[in-house]
């Protein structure tokens, strides 16, 4: 009976699992040519740029669909280690890419494709008058930063240590987009995010730059994931991000060149 139940459970759930990881999906596709899906796991700070890059990539590759999963890099690498169906991984720092390499899950050497620095985001017009990184330690200021285990949090921590500032955040979030959400909703007086997040948020926030921001630079590496069904396509995508189109989209969003 036990084995019967087990068989039945597997019989029911395996097809579901299979359609979740439809890597070179020949399912669906009623209109002739088959579509191949490329699944890219990318750091939350890459959301806008990678979506644009994905569209350009699709335009140049017939029958290819790029799907993204954006999140904190450390979350994403954990999911890949647990067998998530990623074909490409783009991390917001080298530490998390190293985890992928250490787990023998990188299908090739990771390549650096962008850099990012920190900036302070405040609600529009900066009501509390934050003018420097040191101001973030002001008493009564509702500061939100990334948790130290995600790249933006690690960078924030390093910056604070460098400057000898003790930050007393009211919340430590799991991704840079969560920090931004707390600022745009007006709950936080200030948040430490990336330059690119401030650019992307437009009028929803006011950015405050500080002179020391260049001292802590996050480097973004990208690599195909070992064992992907779409190996060639994954390599193509990596090349595309490193190529002219990818680099100009990234530069427009405020990313630096590695």
């Amino acid at each position: 009976m036990k084995s019967l139940v087990l068989t039945a459970v597997l019989a029911l759930t395996l097809p579901l699992a299979a359609c979740g990881s439809d890597s070179d999906g020949d399912a669906g596709g009623g209109s002739g040519g088959e579509t191949t899906t490329l699944t890219v796991y990318a750091a939350a700070s890459l959301t806008a740029t990678f979506e644009e890059i994905g569209k350009k990539f699709e335009a140049e590759h017939d029958g290819v669909k790029v799907e993204f999963d954006f999140g904190g890099s450390s979350n994403l690498v954990t999911q890949i280690q647990e067998g998530a169906p990623a074909d490409v991984f783009a991390s917001a720092d080298t530490a998390n890419m190293d985890k992928l390499v250490d787990a023998d899950l990188a299908g090739g050497d990771p390549q650096d494709f962008a850099t990012n620095t920190l900036e302070i985001a405040t609600p529009p017009d900066n009501p509390t008058g934050v003018a420097s990184f040191q101001d973030l330690a002001k008493k009564g200021l509702q500061l939100v930063i990334c948790a130290p285990e995600v790249p933006c949090g690690a960078a924030t921590q390093t910056m604070a240590d460098n400057l000898g500032v003790t930050l007393k955040p009211v919340s430590e979030e799991q991704s840079v987009t969560d920090v931004l959400a707390k600022v745009t909703s007006g709950e936080a007086d200030a948040g430490v995010v990336y330059v690119t997040d401030v650019t992307a948020a437009g009028d929803a926030v006011t950015g405050v730059t500080f002179p020391e921001s260049g001292d802590v630079v996050n480097t973004y590496p990208i690599a195909p994931v070992e064992g992907t069904d779409a190996e060639d396509l994954a390599d193509d995508f990596v090349e595309f991000v490193l190529g002219d189109t990818g680099q100009s989209i990234l530069a427009d969003a405020g990313f630096g060149q590695p």
Partner: protein, 263 residues
């Protein structure tokens, strides 16, 4: 209600989907159990941050349960013992958090009690800051667990009926006396199981908390938020802490079950 004898047998095929359903619930627990590092289990669940999160979770959930009792008992009484126009609608609305995704609840709370929310400026004027505070955690927990108490208790009140209350009233007892001496003792099992369920729901609250209250050790990082953070840096510890919550959940079920109320 208590006599539940069945003469007619079930069709044999019913047992297959029933067993599948049971397997769906139990297998993941087995899967998680298989990942527990028993050697370091005790060490992992008694780390400083783990104990901080556990104590914060227990404290906030207890306060939330008390709030649920203070607010939910009167609500259940009004719903079970009175009738007014639109009662059905009121009941449905009150039960909304039961079916609402918690993250939606969190956003709703944010735009009500947050700094720029509906009541934000009034609260600010009174010097009350709810966002990012432990109070926000309690508020989120109360929001999601209140319906559990109301549903349990309303069911208990309805199945208990109003006969004894009528008798007591006819003998000259005042409404408050009837409530204290007749109604409450009568529905006590339902009340207890409702309170235990509310506590359990509060203990497990995640979505509304992370949206509304944020995540900071010792202030707003309850056990579920702690586990969510931990699973990235220390999966072993996350699994160990998850197991602690499973044990708590099993205890809760054991407590809540004897109550004969159906909900």
């Amino acid at each position: 209600m208590a006599t539940r004898q069945r003469q007619v047998g079930l069709p044999a095929w019913i047992f297959v989907p029933a067993a599948l359903g049971a397997a769906l619930v139990l297998l993941p627990l087995v899967g998680m159990g298989s990942r527990v590092e028993w050697g370091s289990f005790f060490e992992l669940v008694t780390s400083d941050s783990a104990l901080t999160a556990l104590s914060l979770s227990l404290r906030t959930s207890l306060v939330a349960t008390v709030l649920c009792l203070l607010l939910g008992v009167p609500m259940a009484l009004v719903l079970a013992r009175t009738s007014f126009r639109g009662q059905g609608l009121v009941r449905s609305l009150v039960l909304l958090p039961l079916v609402l995704p918690p993250v939606v609840g969190g956003i709703a709370l944010l735009y009500t009690f947050g700094r720029r929310g509906l009541l934000g400026s009034e609260l600010d004027a009174l010097g009350i800051q709810i966002a990012f505070s432990t109070a926000a955690v309690v508020l989120a927990q109360t929001f999601v667990s209140l319906p559990f108490l109301v549903v349990s208790l309303e069911g208990a009140l309805r199945s208990a009926g109003a006969r004894y209350e009528e008798v007591a009233a006819s003998l000259g007892a005042r409404p408050t006396t009837v409530f204290r001496r007749v109604t409450l003792p009568l529905v006590l099992p339902g009340l207890v199981s409702g309170a235990v369920l509310s506590f359990a729901r509060a203990l497990g609250e995640f979505g509304a908390t992370i949206t509304f209250a944020g995540s900071l050790e010792g202030t707003t990082r309850t056990l579920p938020l702690f586990i969510y953070n931990l699973r990235v840096v220390d999966p072993d510890a996350a699994v160990a802490m998850s197991l602690v919550l499973v044990v708590v959940a099993v205890l809760v079920i054991a407590f809540a079950r004897p109550g004969r109320s159906t909900w």
